[in-house]
């Protein structure tokens, strides 16, 4: 199944700070809960993994990230990530475009992604997929913002650095499931009246 995501995060730093961090693929990957770059093949090709624990099931996706383009003029990154669950029962691809837009002396990170999931994860998790993806991205956004904030020297930067250091290294099972559930509950009452 395909999930299309479109998100914006207001960054506490300048557009150039945002763009600088966006080019650091290892840094960006570390913002994704449970994700890490395991091998840098060259400037445009990486190997990585994502581990998620939801309820009793642990899913570990391993795959490749290929940078399609880095456009300094537009401050835009385009990458395609492909991964397969180590048990071979599911796979996912993500086509992501992210760009940083100047907003006064601050900036905004825009992200547009098409995520295609196949296999067991789609069959079993299809119902919750949009909420799960949404929660993952929210956590990603929070980490990204902290990374930008941490570039500064003030107390806010200090707090951001601390928060980054203590963030969970993988998707937190119960807490995550709870936030997904809350997200779903909100969507029921949240004025989104589209029929399922």
């Amino acid at each position: 199944m395909q999930v299309d995501l479109d998100k914006e995060f207001a960054l506490p730093g300048s557009a150039s700070q945002g763009w600088k961090f966006l080019q650091d693929i290892k840094g960006v990957a570390s913002c994704m809960p449970g994700a890490e770059i395991t091998e840098v093949i060259d400037a445009n090709n990486y190997k990585g993994s994502v581990k998620a624990k939801v309820g009793p099931a642990t899913m570990a996706f391993a795959g490749t990230i290929v940078i399609q383009s880095l456009d300094a003029d537009k401050r835009e990154l385009h990458l395609i990530g492909k991964g397969q669950d180590s048990k071979g029962t599911s796979s996912a691809t993500m086509d992501l475009t992210a760009w940083v837009v100047k907003d006064g002396d601050k900036s905004v990170l825009h992200g547009k992604a098409a995520v295609i999931v196949t296999g067991k994860a789609a069959s079993l998790g299809g119902r919750m997929m949009v909420q799960v993806a949404d929660q993952i991205l929210n956590q990603f956004g929070k980490n990204f913002i902290n990374n930008i904030a941490a570039m500064g020297e003030d107390t806010a930067a200090e707090a951001a650095r601390e928060e980054l250091a203590t963030q969970p290294k993988e998707l937190n099972g119960f807490g995550f499931a709870w936030s997904v559930f809350l997200g779903w509950l909100k969507s029921l009452f949240g004025g989104d009246k589209k029929a399922p």
Partner: protein, 797 residues
Amino acid sequence: MTEVADKQTREDALQGMGCSRKRVEDARFIQGKGNYTDDVKMPGMLFADMVRSPYAHARIISINKEKALALPGVHAVLTAEDLKPLNLHWMPTLAGDVQAVLADEKVHFQYQEVAVVIADDRYIAADAIDLVEVEYEELPVLIDPFKAMEPEAPILREDLVGKMTGAHSERKHDNHIFNWQVGEKDATDRVFEQAEVTVSQDMYYHRVHPCPLETCGCVASFDKVNGHLTLYITSQAPHVVRTVVSMLSGLPESKVRVISPDIGGGFGNKVGIYPGYVTAIVASIVLGVPVKWVEDRMENISTTAFARDYHMTGEIAADKDGRIKALRVNVLADHGAFDACADPSKFPAGLLHICTGSYDIPVAHVNVDGVYTNKAPGGVAYRCSFRVTEAVYVIERTMDVLAQKLGIDKAEIRRRNFIRNDQFPYQTCLGWEIDSGDYHNALEKVLTAVDYDGLRREQEEKRARGELMGIGLVTFTEIVGAGPSRNCDILGVGMFDSAEIRIHPTGSIMARMGTITQGQGHQTTYAQIIATELGIPASEIAIQEGDTDTAPYGLGTYGSRSTPVGGAATAVAARKIKAKAQKIAAHLLEVSEDDLEWEIDRFKVKGAPGQEKTMKEIAWAAYNNVPEGMEPGLEAVDYYDPPNFTYPYGVYLCVIDIDKDTGETDIRRFYALDDCGTRINPMIIDGQIHGGLNEGFAVAMGQEMPFDEQGNLMGNTLMDYFVPTFVETPKWETDYLVTPSPHHPLGAKGVAESPHVGSIPCFTSAVVDAFSHLGVTHMNMPHTAPKLWKKVQELGV
């Protein structure tokens, strides 16, 4: 005791035909003492589990079994490469196609079998399948059957490229399976061109799964010493399985024993041969130990035999009074990745050409194209006789559309077009001979019972208040009891069935049939037939089925064929015994055979009270005092090749209320009148009708197998797949008429599938009727609350 009372006592003691004898099967089932395939445990038995594809369409780059083989307790990991030397990596299907046993270079549907792991227990096997590393290269996926024959469509079956002659016809495209036509196209088209009124309705009969309580499974046990294979299997056709296993394995059929133990529901799901069976057999032959394979629920819904998936267009040409002049049916059939439909060989769309229904239609034409898509194979008759469900759906829906267009009530339009009683046996324009029926009386009986006019008045009032109430009506005719061997065979074997009856010296009976019960209660009802025919109490008659080493060859139980074919064989075999018994009685009473008459349980000398011999006395004599020249014993076998199908029919009416605010439905009344000819056990008939209505309710109101664009099956657990319990199930009211089949020895027609076949279009008819005053002519199933709610919003009710 008076003579009348004496006769009644003797009659009651038999518990023969027409009596609501309690099911003898239930004692073991309600005590948890049934013996199912998964209950079979053998010394040294290993377990098989499947590595399955996460992709709907992909090339297999490599399979690495090393880590799995290194796991303690794993005995083997088999792939297509391992089966190739045995030529078992592909197998023939019942529909004249081939099917991959284990994916050969490519996977064609999600959850396809890629490798099989054999291990000490099922837990180790399940762990080991996670360790088999398969590298795939994804390929473009074909899910929409309407795109299958487009020039740029991805080609699914590389093994068939360039082979433009299929099993049933020429192929127009590499993804085309067959084109099948029946009826007179030109004559039908001409009537349509000149007709006063025509209607056309597109409808999708969605993909569903029979989802029996017990999933598919087997235990294969090969004895290396004497070369015997014993296969315990959840099969609706054990003898056919024996023939197929012999053909595939090269083992003589005499060295293959197939046992279908208790079966937890079949509904068509247990007709086919699945990769799990083949791999368990291969593993047992290679390893020399028993191997068990049993599916889990997800595997069952995802891979073993779906049903339906017909995109249909029904068209009727009529005069302005609603009298039908011609019928056209066009179908695009989605068969999935391999054509594994279970139909009689000659009919790639089964018995779809019964689609003229209960109506006197002068001319018709049916056109079906089957195509491949990246979905699991199957196409079985889910509680139905070979696509009869689809046939009834298309004609009944189109009848409603015609009624609506002409502004004629849906009961009246049926009345005007019914085959009249004086027209039976009736030759349909598509080649069937409908044996008997009483359609007008059945319809009037139902309309009176529910106060149809009152319901219509109530509907008017509710509509005036802006409420949604619908009345569904279906008057269906089925075709069951496949079938006459002149037009029905499976893999070349004629679709007869068989019974073997032995009367022991003390008068009790052992009988064996080629059919196999899966909930129908054969052990109860076959005994009732024999009890009435031979005058031995049913309680002294043991019925055995499902062991091919002992039962006579038969084609099995599906398509409501047990009573029409197996029941007939039982009656005929009993009559052969009775004829011999009459000779023995004449000998014992020293009279001529012609001087004897049969009464309940004995032969009596006409006009000589007291001069009589009971069947028990005759049985004893059969072993010690037979007429000179007669061989001793009292037994008979019959292989019954039916002269025709049987045609049960029914009239169903459904009243439904739809909540505008939630889309929830309340089926407040469902009245089902069935005429299955002679009734053998009214209680079992009622049970069968309740079960069939439940499954019809499930299909119409909730069951579906949706696929996304990537070919993921979005609902293969019972969390998504609707299996109604008695909490959701409406209350059923049943009724009946009896119009015996003139060609069946007992006049019986079969009943188990009628309620499924007939109820599904009735639910749709009711749902659409609730919206019909707003111009709605059809809505596709399943009629779930979200879909109905959306319709309400769309129409602004």
